[in-house]
């Protein structure tokens, strides 16, 4: 900007003076910010040297960086060179040669999708009955396995009161995720016994797999009125009195029930493995 004549001189001087004042103010602000940062650095080092404190470390650590951050932005705002707006020509538009992007055609999509599906089917055939699939079909429960608590103690018929509930395991596989079960003692006669399961719930005891049939989370919450097991992950609920039927929420399948009987020694034992795979579903899950 060129100022013409001496009428402009005074103007120009005023502009310069304002400019000068602005810079001085900015400089003070920058110095204050950096000073604060330095103080914060001392504070941070002191805190670290004297045993540490997460809150103070964060506060001082952040302030150490905040000072220079503030200084940089303040400097660019007052500096005419740094704050001016510039212009750049764009590169000329690309010429036609490579302009046509490879957009997938309908035929390409069909062929690709078909190939993917074929690969999937082939994978399905090859993995049929694989070890991974077998592992999902069974747990560690066998006929006659004693039920034990998480501490490993066996459970006799007198151990639980009516309304009681606890997590149980096969005695030889405590902690095995796929074998965990919930054991509940109900008042006798309240359970609506499913056909074929007449002798699975002696003395009001009933046991269900603890793995939610939705996503396999442990069904850990017991609500007494109405009697449901609730999964804390996605709030699927299962009716304890009605064979573990899925009541509400996203699960669409009942909790598998573990057959129980009372051994000659008075301890609760499993009558066999769960009648179907536990936990979330999969492609070749046997359907009941």
């Amino acid at each position: 900007m060129s100022s013409g004549g001496c009428g402009g001189c005074a103007d120009r001087e005023r502009v310069l003076a304002t400019e000068e004042r602005r810079r001085t103010r900015a400089l003070y602000r920058i110095l204050a910010a950096l000073g604060l940062s330095a103080a914060a650095l001392v504070g941070l080092l002191t805190v670290l040297a004297t045993g540490g404190n997460t809150q103070l470390e964060g506060l001082f650590g952040g302030m150490v960086l905040m000072g220079p951050a503030f200084a940089l932005v303040t400097w660019t705002k007052q500096s005419p060179r740094a704050s001016r707006v510039d212009e750049e020509e764009r590169h000329p538009k690309g010429a036609g040669v490579f302009e046509k992007a490879p957009v997938p055609t309908r035929r390409g999509l069909l062929v690709g999708g078909g190939a993917a599906l074929a690969a999937l089917v082939a994978g399905g055939v090859v993995t049929r009955g694989s070890a991974a699939e077998q592992a999902l079909r069974q747990t560690s429960w066998r006929s006659g396995t004693r039920l034990v608590t998480s501490e490993g103690g066996p459970i006799s018929v007198e151990d639980m009161t009516i309304g009681g509930l606890q997590t149980v395991w096969p005695e030889d596989a405590v902690g095995r995720a796929d074998s965990q079960a919930v054991l509940i003692r109900l008042e006798e006669g309240r359970l609506r016994v499913r056909p074929g399961r007449e002798d699975w719930s002696p003395e009001g005891y009933v046991a269900y797999s603890k793995l939610c049939t939705h996503m396999g989370c442990p069904v850990g919450l017991y609500q007494q009125d109405p009697d449901v097991l609730l999964c804390p992950c996605h709030q699927a609920s299962f009716d304890i009195l009605d064979g573990g039927r899925a009541v509400h929420g996203p699960a669409s399948r009942a909790l598998p029930q573990l057959p129980l009987f009372v051994g000659d020694d008075g301890y609760l034992r499993a009558g066999g493995d769960f009648p179907e795979p536990v936990g979330a579903g999969f492609w070749r899950r046997p359907r009941s």
Binding site: T54, L65, T76, S150, Q235
Partner: protein, 484 residues
Amino acid sequence: MMEKLVRWIEERGRTAPYVKNLIGKIFPRHWSFLLGEIALYSFLFLVASGIFLLFHYTPESARSAYEGSFEPMQGTQVSGSFHSVMDLSFDVRGGLLVRQAHHWAALIFTAAITLHAARVFFTGSFRRPRHLNWVTGVALLMLALANGFFGLSLTDDLLSGTGLRIAYTFAQSVPMIGPDLASLVFAGEFPSAGLLERMYWLHILFVPVAIAGLLGGHLFLVFRRTHTQFGGKNQHEGNVVGDTMWPGYVFKTTGLLLFVAATALFMGGLVQINPVWIYGPYDPAAVTVPAQPDWYLWFVEGALRVFPQVSMTAFDYEIPTPFVSGLTLPLLFFAALLAWPWIEQRITGDRRHHHLAQRPRDVPVRTTFGVVVIAHLTVLTLAGSHDVQGYVLDVGVDTMTNVYRVLLVAVPVLAGAITWWSCQALREDDEIELAATGQLSDPPPGADSVHRDEGDDADKDEGGRGDDAEPESAEVGSVSGRSE
């Protein structure tokens, strides 16, 4: 000294033309252009803080008794991973701060990418010739979400174990090959020994390197094809107007880098996140209540919760519902996001190059569509904690599920209608004003006037404005572009 060094490098690298080009680069001024930079800087912070964490974290599934300084947990059987995270939190000086700051930075990272993507979407900045920027950007978003989940899972506490269990079930739900896929990816039937060890390498090496590489490509493309900008008096298809790389932009953006890092440190120091000592070590027979992952996964969590209670079969085989609600729907969303530039191109038939960002109101169809999708995702996100909301509101969780099933349809329809109506109303206002005054009082944002080097137009393309020798006082007269 500096000059000598520059000469030394120049003699060997012949870098001067590139550097000159670089320091003359122009960055448009608009607050929404900062979002991508915030994402970049939180990534840098994640790398820096991650290197510190590397020195203290051990990936180890094997269990032993905890013996650190957190008294209540003494003697509990915990994995080596959990043990090292406890030590990091209680016995390494500054360890808890860095761990929490790292976690907060990851949340800022994902949030910044999401907002950046929304900005690019609603302003049409993905249109030709920037398709590749969009594709790399969406890929970066997906990688960021994946690595966030890996990081969340490495601590091996009760919450992260539950998250892994859900990820495993997703793999298991895939038709035909599910059980074997799950076993392959998760090193056996869940919970398997060796999973943490494998995920560790994904989290600290493979995914970060992929992010760094894509990020490099993303930035390279921005440099090659220049920034978009909103149109204005001096801003048109043929130019870019804004701060020059040197000195203005470098100083501002370094300030921003430090602001981002400072924010992560403040949050890490003052706001507790992922307190693993409260959750306890992973136990396959227990779950935390409440159980929510990081914010960016809530939409999947919500989808799992409100999906209807149905059983699906194909030829008498089972298709578990999580395959649809948790796997297919999010993947379809990302596929649609990736393909959007081509979808829009197909609809509008517009294959021209565009360098000016659009105002959302000027493209009501796209804007409405975007708002409908975002509204849907937002409702799903909120549904991800509907048990907690029900508890606070004293409403049964089953009722909450039904309420959200309704909201999932109602809110997007309503939001879409409001958006459509707003776009039309804003455009009418513009037209009335334009007809009356010949110009808009609230023009599209951007600087109003441009600095030009006097009598030196030839210099423009070479980015010659950055010459350091120029004394600053000589420029006082050209304070012209201040719009803030």
